[in-house]
Every structure is written in C-alpha cells, then in structure tokens.
Symmetry: C2
Subunit: 324 residues, 2 copies
C-alpha cells in the first residue's frame, strides 16, 4: 500500500494534475489513473476535476501502513509496520517473523483476527474495522527474569494513549484495562529466551475501539466494553494506534536505559486494583481473598490477608464489590 | 527402529526359530528375515544356526530408541524418545515439535549435529558416534521467572550420571561441566513463555563421551576434553544417557513438587566456582574480578569485590589461576 501517488497528493495539499504526477514519477498518465483507482478502492476519498486534476479530500480510518507511518516519528517501535486484512492471530504471525529474524520494533496489525488469543488460551473477540489488533516485537537487552514486566509497560502505554483522547484508564492487575468493571483492552505478552538472554518479546494488544454494545457476542456483553462506549463517540483508529506506538516507544527507551522502576511507578497511577478487596484464583486452583496493598519491584501483587501478606505473580484476580 | 522381532529376541534370551517368530507376529518367515537383516544393518549382532534359529549376541552402543527405552523406567522424562542420525541442532528440532504440541518429557537424540549451538550462538562440536547430543522438553508448572534454574538442574543431572560411572563432576557457574579446566559438557536451555506461564522449556545437553584428544579441532584441544579421556576408557553411551534421563526425571519431579531449593543445594556440592577468584565479563561488556562466594535462591552468582558484593545473573565467568 505504500504509494508514491498518495505521497504526491499529500504534498500538493490541493489539486495536482495527472500529467504533473506522471512526469514527476516517470510513468504514464494511464498508470497514474490506475494508482488513483487503487487508492479509492482502499477507501481514500480523491476527487477529480477537469483541468485541475486530483485532490485528496479524506483518508480512510483504516489500519494501512502509509496512514500509520504518516507523522509517526518513533525511534524504534514501528519502524517496520506490516498490515493484514485478516490473520489468525497477530502474535502468531509476529512470532514467526521473529524466528526469521525480524528487527526490534517490528509491528504487525490486522483488521480482524480469526481466533485471536488471550491469556491461558482464551479466545479474543476481534471483529473487522472496529478495533486495533496489534503485536509489537521487542529484542530487549534486559534479562528474561525482567521480561514479565513488559506486560505492565504495555498497559501503561495504552493508558497514556487513552489520555490523549481524554479517556482515563483503570488498570486491573496485571494488564487488563477496564471501564466500570468491563474490559476495554486485553494484552498477551509472550517471550522466547535462553536462560540469560531474551531472544524476543512479542506484546499483543487488542483494543475494543468502536465496538457497540450490541456488536459483542451475548456472553461478552456483561464483561466487555469499548472506547467508543466510554467516550460516547467513535475514535480514529489510526490516530489511536499512533499514540499507542509513541507511548510504547518512549517507555521502551526508558526501560532499556534505566530499568522498569519508572514503569512500575506509572502503572500504580492507573491501578484500580490497589486498595480493593480482591479474590485470587492461583494457577494451582487455590482461592483466597485479601486487600491488594501494592506491587513490588518484580510487578507481583502484594495482598494483605488475615494470615499475613501474600505475593501473587500469576493467576486471576477479581475485584470484589465493596460491601454497602 | 522399534522392532517386534528385536523384542522377541530379547525375550527369548537364547535361540528362537524364524518360524516361531513368524507365527507369534503373524507375518511370513521372509518378513522375519527382512527385519533381522535391518537389525544387523543397524549394528545388532544376531547369529543364526540351522534348526536353532536366531540369537541376539550383542546390541550396538548406538543411540537407538529401543536401546534407550530398554529398562529406562522413568516417570516423565523419555516416555517418548525420537532418535536421528543427524540433525542441524537437537534444540531446533525439539522446539519445532514443542510448537506442534509434543508432550512433557519428550526427548530428541541425534548421533551427530550439523551446527549444534551453544550459549550466545556459539557453535558446538558434535562428531558422530562419540557423544550424546540430546534435548529434553519440559512443560513445567513453575513460573517463567524460575525457568532459568532449569540449567542448574540439568548440570546436577549430568553430575549425578557421571557419579554412576565413577566420575566426579565439577560444575562451573552456571552450567559448564569441567575436568581440569577443560569442558566436558555444554548445556543450552531455551524457553517459550507467556508472562505468567511457561509454554515449554527445552534443555539441550551436549556430552563429549568418547572423543579422543586428537578428534577435537585444534582450537578446541586446549579447552575441551571428554569422559573417555577423564576415565581412561570408553563409556557406553546408551547406559550413560539412561542414567542422565533417570537423574533428570528424579530432579524434575522434586522441583515440580517442592521448588528449586534442593537443586540449588545439590548444585553447590559440585561447584568448582565457589571460593575461587573469578573474572566476570558482564553482558554489556563490563569486566571485574572478585571471589565467588555463593549462589542465591535465584541461582545468581554472588561475588565479593573490593567495592562490595555483586550479583551476577548473566555473563561469562572465568576462574583465575590461583597466585603462587
């Protein structure tokens, strides 16, 4: 989709003739016309007028590489962006690319996912045209033991992107972004590592952007919501994704330079879990309740229980309704 | 290579006629003869005598699945064993199988490796017929943060197998098995994980069993040795691999039940690094010296330096010759 004709239209800022474009690009006018047709097909609103030529009136809010790249200006994240109409799962595609040697900061975006996949093999609802289903490849210098904190970093990046659109995120430990008890965003971080070296980390982020309540399958309606429902108006997907990639770019540079302490501090600003009574289902199936007191330097949730403080690094944490 | 004829020969413990085998297996005598020929081709010493039939005189010291399985009796490790004449790297093969869903305890063995691969992409010398080049797949229940300690567990398993053959191992942190300053065994552990769940761990172990000094490429001679050189006699590869899988099976069950503390304690028994003056090259290139004092609960090496104690989780550690 990278298009030289699109670049000329943007550059012109107004009408530009087909003949001028043909000369500039060293192609025939018929070839210019074909490229204009392809852009219109992709959703670009391009008007034409006799004698004046062509003008770019509007760009589609589609997750296309030239739109996402336009004005992105990140240092690492998104220097290569690969967009798909549909994939089984953006994490699966990007892990395959990672094994083939894809660079730090490579991004895979899909308009829709077949299965998607959340934590613990849970399916993730990813309808076309209404969300951002994106995976980001990192090749960090920190140790494998630190990699789990990438998931907190991703949650903070989403929260910061939301702020640019006037939305206040609440993060439920470790990385669910919630609004009024319903989920807006899911994050699945995976890694491949040797014992003292990370090969790669793939952060998958699924954002319910413009999904109406009735778009969700019935079983998800009580537990899922979208940015559009939260704001009361649709959001531009391209612009939101750009803000997310910028926020992640800044955080990643900070982590590589100074470690995760600033990320953990930022995470606490958005945490809705802390101070709440929570119910924990540990991986082995054990359940207990307590008050979420803090997270520690490893990102573990510290829970005050009648039997003393407990440290939770994995499992499901649900916030209990406060007693009236 | 799993062979019903081989099983009958073993079971017989002496001569068994071709006709009897044909009846037992419901095949023709010509088919029995073909299977005998294949076994001889693989190195089995099978004699035949008119009227008496066939007798199994000797089995080859080749890493063949029926030989490794024979009397193995492990609970998890090696319940499925896949043997190859040659692969590029047993870790690569097993990671591919892991992605396709291979079970906990699956083992891949090769008689020779093309490139092999050690830590930090270093090549590993794996000549045919003279070593054990094996990878073991684990799907543990512990957290990704604990997975790096698998490398210590593997080193202890090798040390315990060596003891069964009267050889005392020295482990150099974290996982090189040494004899008189030269390397006997290399271990490369890799993992795939989500943030709070290990998908799989692949432990690759390369053991120089029956390699003579002159078999090594010239540049390896000052730094590599073999079990045969240490013992002064060749060792049976099949029996050694069985002891290794048994030791790993026991340790793995212990770790899954009670955590890594017993492994760390066992590791210290074999450690040649502790108490020595060491030189550390950290991943970022920084170098320093100090006395290796202990390992902590995370498996990190604790080094006393003039500027205080330092904690090393990654990097190269070399033991300095003691001053005269």
């Amino acid at each position: 989709m990278r298009s030289d004709v699109l670049e000329l239209l943007r550059e012109a800022g107004g009408y530009i003739s087909g003949e001028k474009m043909a000369v500039r690009l060293g192609i025939t006018r018929a070839a210019v016309w074909k490229k204009i047709a392809a852009l219109r097909e992709a959703g670009y609103d391009i008007s034409s007028a006799p004698r004046s030529g062509y003008v770019l009136r509007a760009v589609p809010d589609r997750l296309l590489e030239p739109e996402i790249t336009q004005g992105l200006e990140t240092a690492h994240i998104g220097r290569r962006i690969i967009c798909y109409d549909a994939v089984d799962s953006t994490n699966l595609v990007l892990k395959e690319l990672a094994r083939e040697g894809a660079a730090d900061g490579t991004v895979v975006v899909a308009d829709t996912q077949g299965t998607g996949r959340g934590r613990m093999e849970r399916a993730f609802f990813s309808p076309p045209g209404k969300g951002i289903w994106v995976s980001i490849l990192l090749r960090p210098t920190f140790l494998p033991q630190d990699a789990p904190k990438c998931t907190l970093m991703a949650a903070v990046a989403v929260a910061r992107a939301m702020e640019k659109f006037g939305l206040r995120a609440g993060i439920k430990w470790p990385n669910d972004i919630m609004h009024e008890g319903r989920k807006l965003v899911g994050i699945l971080t995976e890694m491949s590592a040797e014992m003292d070296r990370v090969n790669y980390v793939v952060i998958g982020i699924g954002i319910n952007v413009n999904i109406a309540a009735e778009d969700f399958p019935e079983e998800l309606r009580p537990i899922a919501t979208s940015l559009m429902q939260m704001k009361g108006a649709p959001l531009p997907r391209v612009a939101f994704l750009q803000e997310l990639l910028r926020a992640l770019d800044t955080l990643y540079a900070e982590v590589q330079r100074a470690g995760f302490a600033p990320v953990l501090a930022a995470w606490k600003e958005y945490a809705v879990t802390l101070g709440q009574t929570v119910r924990v289902i540990a991986p082995a199936g054990e359940e207990f309740e307590g008050v979420a007191a803090d997270i520690d330097a490893e990102g573990a949730l510290l829970i005050d229980t009648p039997a003393g403080q407990r440290r939770v690094l994995a499992g499901d944490v649900s916030i209990r309704p406060s007693k009236q």
